[in-house]
Amino acid sequence: MKSLEELKKLREKLQSDTKLRAADGIKVIVGMGTCGIAAGAREVMAALMEEVKKRGLAGVVFQQTGCIGMCEKEVLVDIILPGAPRITYGNVRPSDAGRLVAEHVINGQIVKDLVVAKSV
């Protein structure tokens, strides 16, 4: 049974964890307005989280945001690497999560066919 006791143990583990937090400062933001949710934003977010977990990346921060007015391009995902412009991906599906994490989050390569906007 997962319990609060287990969460306490987790704290010790997280604190003693000296592995390089290579992903520190990386942000992944998923649009969660009504339009985004209806288009599958929750599943996309879950798939991205799963990819990050699978690869043992520590420090990636997930956030949600409301609708930004590109409803027809939902699901929208922003990836921000430290010191790099904010890249917005559109029409993202759960099956794109692997590519976004492997190519962009890990290797810093923009996944060109999914980009809809770029901003600083």
């Binding site: 287990e6 969460l7 009504t34 977010m45 921060v61 997930f62 956030q63």
Partner: protein, 184 residues
């Protein structure tokens, strides 16, 4: 929207957008009275009585990127269709409570859906917000409180971190399962 867990995500997103710092979600399944209640409460910026009264209308939205708001009108529609209603209680500067009631056994009541997935994403993605989830079913109660998590994990740990999310996932799924099992 396929199920109620997606509507819930929508309601919480509204609460976050309103600047709520303490957000709570209550789900109550009452088989005896045949009600399912979903209530999302926040201490965000609130709405004037005038605005709250017309917010079920898709053309009432303060959003600037699109002319219509869809979240509340959709929830209002599904609740009414399932023998229930949507209530909005709000005070400017104080906060808002949105309550959707459904008839539990109504054939048009959407299923609850994947509540664990919804709550996990809220808990993991709500930076700087305290979120409390309480689920009642008969005499059973399940609670997840991110304030308690914060006390245990300390300030520096991000709940979006994979080890924490894994814990969240297990805690939620087992807790929700227990709501069903010991019933009766």
């Amino acid at each position: 929207m396929r199920d109620l867990s997606l509507h819930i995500l929508d309601l919480v997103q509204n609460a976050v957008a309103a600047g709520g710092k303490n957000i709570s979600l209550l789900i109550e399944e009452d088989e005896k009275k045949d009600f399912l209640t979903i209530a999302v409460k926040d201490d965000g910026k609130g709405m004037t009585p005038d605005f709250a009264a017309k917010v079920k209308d898709p053309f009432a939205t303060t959003r600037t990127t699109r002319k219509v708001g869809l979240g509340l009108p959709l929830i209002d529609m599904t609740a009414e269709r399932a023998g229930g209603r949507l209530d909005i209680a709000s005070r400017p500067g104080r906060g808002t409570t949105v309550t959707a009631v459904y008839r539990l056994s109504h054939i048009d009541r959407p299923p609850l859906g994947d509540i664990a997935a919804t709550v996990k994403i809220i808990a993991a993605g709500c930076q700087g917000i305290f979120f409390r989830y309480e689920h009642r079913k008969g005499r059973n109660v399940f609670v997840l409180d991110t304030k308690q998590m914060r006390e245990i994990l300390g300030e520096e740990v991000d709940f979006g971190e994979s080890a924490v999310m894994e814990w969240l996932d297990g805690f939620l799924r087992e807790g929700l399962l227990a709501l069903d099992k010991t019933e009766g």
